[in-house]
């Protein structure tokens, strides 16, 4: 009996899964210092990135139309794997410092990468749910990884409960959609919607789409579904916070683009209005609350909520240029935020302190190079040229203006002026305040390497954005056909 199996279609996933098993074996045969496991994870993720680049340009749909390997999937594979690569690099010393015999840190990181890769390449709602769950189940224990700290466990618990809640929304939405359309296959759904005369007349289907959108909005932390974000981001170990802000967000947004925007919105299901409000409220709330924060991790948590709002600005228009700008935004944010959290990882002490704003005071005196790089990351988050963040915001807002959403674009620019205040406060603390104590420990090699990769990405995307923008365009085109 014929079973539709094509292993090339899931080659990058197979590489990551194999790395997971090899790392698990290595974990069993190493001492309590686990950096060799991290090295194996690095090699595997590197091979995964290589295979994704090698496969670029192919389009294979396999496993009974469950998986599509196209440029869209591959671009997001590369994005999440770069985030994973930088995260492993900056964790090499950190993990051994906070916990002995902790190889499962890398295993969970790899399995969450695997979940993300299935999530972004899925073309069936069932695979999307399973990918999302694989990703989330790996992240929950990582948030509570430093289990001696109350805040870490609290963050993990909140994330777990609200994550389960979000999955319930998603599943219920899918069930409603299935009850109307009779299928979970995205290609079939697109076909039914394109031939249907009045798809919006069916209230059950609309409720299903709304519930699916809510389920994903929890994962990317759009207001009003953001309540878990500050606690989970602050409680998690610093490298994991960066990973969540970069990769989890990128993968969940890929699912939103695929399910809600391409499949639903192209066929006149009106999600644009909902997206408009979500993005406006998210940009405003995230930036306003971030201004009041004293802890840098919590501040960046609120700022990551605001950034999710900016990504949605690109999605409101629902056309190819808008979606490409959203993809570009996610890539630039991935580099910037993992780089910022690499530096925060260096500053975070083993008991979880060291991330207050006052801990950045006078950093330029003790670490001049690190301070300049941190300043570049902060300027990129605020959206000041010539950094990646500026180009990302430029593309997103210009796509909104081109599609006639000028009001939303102006509102977004105003909120990013607010955001300038708290990003520059970190820069101010580093350069114009006196250090409280002179602790000068060397920067670990892994963190240096991670910071350099992130800095390269931020500068590259800021000065020569058109290459990556073309790739984003190609990836969206591969999705539309």
């Amino acid at each position: 009996m014929y079973v539709d199996v094509n292993y090339t279609a899931i080659l990058p996933q197979i590489i990551i899964a194999a790395t997971l098993f090899i790392s698990a074996m290595a974990d069993a045969f190493t001492s309590t210092r686990k950096w060799p496991v991290g090295m194996i994870a690095l090699l595997g993720i590197g091979a995964g990135i290589g295979s994704s680049i090698y496969l670029w340009g192919d389009k294979i749909i396999s496993f009974s139309q469950m998986i599509s390997m196209d440029e869209f999937s591959l671009l997001f594979f590369i994005t999440v794997m770069i985030a994973g690569f930088i995260t492993v690099l900056i964790s090499l010393k950190y993990v051994d410092d906070v916990e002995s015999d902790a190889g499962h840190f890398y295993l969970l990181l790899l399995s969450s990468l695997l979940g993300m890769m299935f999530l972004v390449s899925a073309t069936n709602l069932i695979v999307i749910v399973l990918g999302l769950e694989l990703m989330s189940f790996s992240i929950y224990p990582l948030v509570g990884f430093t289990r001696d700290r109350q805040v870490s466990l609290e963050g993990a618990m909140k994330y777990l409960v609200l994550g389960a809640f979000a999955t319930a929304f998603l599943l219920y939405g899918i069930a409603l959609l299935y009850s109307v359309l009779g299928t979970t296959n995205l290609y079939t759904i697109a076909k039914i919607l394109s031939t249907s005369q009045n798809p919006t007349g069916n209230m059950v289907m609309m409720a299903g789409v709304a519930l699916i959108l809510i389920g994903f909005s929890f994962k990317v932390a759009l207001v009003p579904f953001h309540a878990w974000t500050p606690d989970a981001y602050q409680g998690a170990p610093a490298p994991i916070t960066g990973f969540m802000a970069a990769a989890v967000k990128a993968a969940s947004f890929a699912a939103i683009i695929k399910v809600v925007i391409v499949v639903m919105s192209s066929y006149h299901v009106p999600v644009a209005e909902a997206m408009w409000w979500l993005s406006a409220v998210t940009m405003f709330t995230g930036n306003i609350i971030a201004v009041m924060q004293k802890n840098v991790k919590r501040m960046l948590a609120y700022s990551s909520i605001a950034h999710a709002g900016y990504v949605v600005v690109g999605l409101v228009s629902g056309n190819a240029y808008g979606m490409s700008s959203a993809v570009f935004y996610l890539i630039s944010y991935t580099f910037t935020i993992t780089g910022s959290f690499a530096i925060i990882t260096y500053l975070e002490k083993n008991d979880g302190t060291g991330t207050e704003l006052s801990d950045f005071s006078g950093l330029s005196k003790t670490h001049p190079v690190l301070s300049i790089i941190m300043a570049v990351f902060m300027l990129s988050l605020a959206g000041i040229p010539p950094t990646a963040g500026f180009m990302a915001k430029f593309y997103v807002f210009s796509s909104a203006i081109k599609s006639g959403y000028t009001g939303l674009a102006i509102f977004g620019i105003l909120t990013s002026v607010i955001s300038l205040y708290y990003y520059l406060r970190i820069v101010y603390a580093m350069y114009f305040e006196e250090p409280e104590e002179k602790a000068n420990m060397p920067v670990p090699a892994g963190i240096s390497a991670g910071v350099i990769i992130a800095l390269w990405g931020v500068i590259q995307l800021g000065i020569l954005p058109s290459d990556i923008m073309n790739l984003a365009m190609q990836s969206i085109q591969s999705l539309l056909h």
């Binding site: 009996m1 079973v3 199996v5 899931i10 899964a17 309590t32 496993f63 009974s64 469950m66 998986i67 916990e99 002995s100 015999d101 499962h104 295993l107 969970l108 399995s111 695997l114 979940g115 299935f118 069936n124 069932i126 695979v127 399973l130 990918g131 769950e133 694989l134 189940f137 790996s138 929950y140 224990p141 990582l142 509570g144 990884f145 289990r147 299935y178 009850s179 109307v180 359309l181 009779g182 299928t183 069916n202 209230m203 059950v204 409720a207």
Partner: protein
Amino acid sequence: MINHVLFYITAVLLVLTYTYAVIAGNPVYSALAMGGAFFLTSFLFVLLGAPFLAVVQVIIYVGAMLVMFLFIIMMFDLNRSSSAPVKYKPSTIFSYVLTMIILLVAFYMARGVVKMPEGFTVVGFGSAENVGFNLLRYYLLPFELASFILLVGVFGAITFIKKRDRV
């Protein structure tokens, strides 16, 4: 016709048991009510013509999960700490009422729109043979992916319960 009558009886009982599971003061009663609800759910599957799913529901949910819940409740001795009657704040009651209104509106709008998808009417749709055939042919990838989720569950458990000797 008899199917319809049985369905409505089961549905009402199901809502009542789950409501009791939520409001019961004693966690053991809650767990047992949930077990009853699992049985009723499996009866719904029987009515839908899916005997395999019904059996799996009983074996996994009642046989494994419910027993695990009861074990955990008894291990923690939650009985004493939470035997005080639950107090309802006005905001809680308001949210219950709001939920009921939303459900009624949804039900009103859904009348006549929801119909059984084609596949359900095929004879033997929910048989063990059919489930196995579909699971290992069309749904091979999700089936394998689910095994990874179980693996990650083990990793997650290790993260929180692993003993350590301080370095």
